[in-house]
């Protein structure tokens, strides 16, 4: 199995640390690449392959994005859709959606995800204020 997918952050792409072996996937930073489809294509494929190989397993997913453009938004939806499918397949997926307590935009997006994917164990987690 794919052990780990690690991509360091750049100014316009997030840090991707998908530690498949440890069942912890995390996405942190900002996401506004010129072509989000190209950036996320491989990430999504490997995640799908990983999720399809699971059986009654537990996975923790941490997303802490400060900014994402509209094409990245669609890719995020695709990712969450995969997680939702894995839940339907009998796994327990915990999705931690981290947002600054004052960031209403991020909070709203998290709430929309929760509405759209009610089966996911999605937790909206305010980050510590500095």
């Amino acid at each position: 199995m794919d052990e780990r997918l690690y991509i360091p952050a750049t100014p316009d792409t997030p840090e991707v640390d998908f530690h498949f072996a440890q069942r912890h996937l995390s996405l942190r930073g900002e996401s506004y690449p010129e072509s989000a489809v190209h950036f996320y294509h491989d990430i999504l494929q490997r995640t799908r392959a990983f999720l399809q190989g699971l059986k009654e397993d537990r996975v923790r997913v941490t997303i802490e994005l400060k900014y994402f453009n509209s094409s990245s938004t669609k890719m995020l939806f695709n990712l969450v859709e995969c997680l939702n499918q894995a839940t339907a397949d009998g796994n327990h997926i915990l999705l931690e959606w981290l947002h600054d307590p004052e960031d209403d935009t991020l909070l709203e997006f998290g709430q929309e995800l929760a509405e759209d994917f009610p089966d996911l164990d999605l937790r909206l987690i305010p980050t510590q204020s500095a």
């Binding site: 506004y32 010129e34 094409s71 939806f77 859709e81 995969c82 960031d103 991020l106 929309e112």
Partner: protein, 430 residues
Amino acid sequence: MSSPPPSDAPAVHGPLVIDRQFAGDLLMAVDPVTPEHTNEQVAEIFARHRWMQNLPVVHGRRPMGLINRNLFHNMMAKPYYPELYNRQSCIAFMDKNPLVAEVSTPIRQLTTMAVRTGEKVFADGFILVDNGVYAGVGQTLDLMEAMTELQERQHRQLLESIHYASLIQTALLKPARQAMAGHLPGRHWVVWRPRDVVGGDFFHFVSLEDGFLAVLMDCTGHGVPGAFMTLIAQAALERALAEHGHDDPAALLAAMNRDIKHTLNQYQTGAAGEIPLEDSDDGLDAVLLRVRPRAGQWAFAGARSPLLRIPPPQAGAAEYLRGDRHGVGYRSTPHDTRWQNHHGPCLPGERFYLVSDGVIDQIGGEKRIAFGKKRLAQCLQETRHLDMEAQEKGFSETFSTYQGPEAARDDITLIGLEPIPPHGPQERLP
């Protein structure tokens, strides 16, 4: 190609060749030595040609190596070395693996080769060959100059092209600006700032017998691809208007959705999210506002975009009217998607704001978080007593202070409209 420097003069570069594209354009002809030359002879050549940093060695017509002046002198300065090596072949202190490039190598590729060669290339330069036959040498500084020229030229060409595109995009927005100025003189403002000179935000304004229709479209992407999308979106809007008229914003969104899906052939294929990389999945967020001041009514429909409404003083607080959650034209938006119209009474002095997500999502402030809807509403509510021009200035100041040194993340558009003057019907209504 530059001519060889005079043998008794310091290195002078010939007239700057403007268009240096290949390794051969950096060529300096230097008479090479052969293994038959002794170190004593090499010392003499270096003494005679003070500009010469490197002396190439050839075997027959093929390059063998490069003797670096400083390295050579350092070796020969060691005790007993002259006595030991003076009469020996010059290959003793020669670098046997210099960078060798064909004269036809493009500058960009030569730069890559030079970087891979490592540090020594800065002092040693490189040997140039023509079909494997020694042709001359080149200096790394010349290569860097040529590479810089090349990049500057390409960058300039790109910028010139985008600036020209910006003239076209600005011209396309002019009718909307003129219509607004004619219909709502002193009662509107527009902040339109594409992130990359051209962009994916676009607005439209139609002056009508009984009021107006204002449209803001935020297409996927920015820069050139975003600008392409605005053309497709605008064409779709024009066709929708021709078919459905101006009174039903939701119907216009539905018609644009069908049109754009058809134009870009964006129909859902396979499982969600598994779209082939080369297939497009583009569309737009939009807000359409139809106002009929004399009838005292407005109608609004939004695709993933809100409308911000600020009632006149004492008539309530700012509120966002939420649009529907479907974007327009995307693969995931079904062909027969319907949007909803929202209606309300339009009051004297009431203001409406059409905003793209570039404003709401802009990162800034001490915490480096998004500007946000709340802050936007607050800023506009606090400045609602100002006339429109002063309010625009107020917003621009607040926003740029918030943004601080952060780069714009997206195209930014904010349009403010006051359909009925504050003092009500005694003023002439459009």
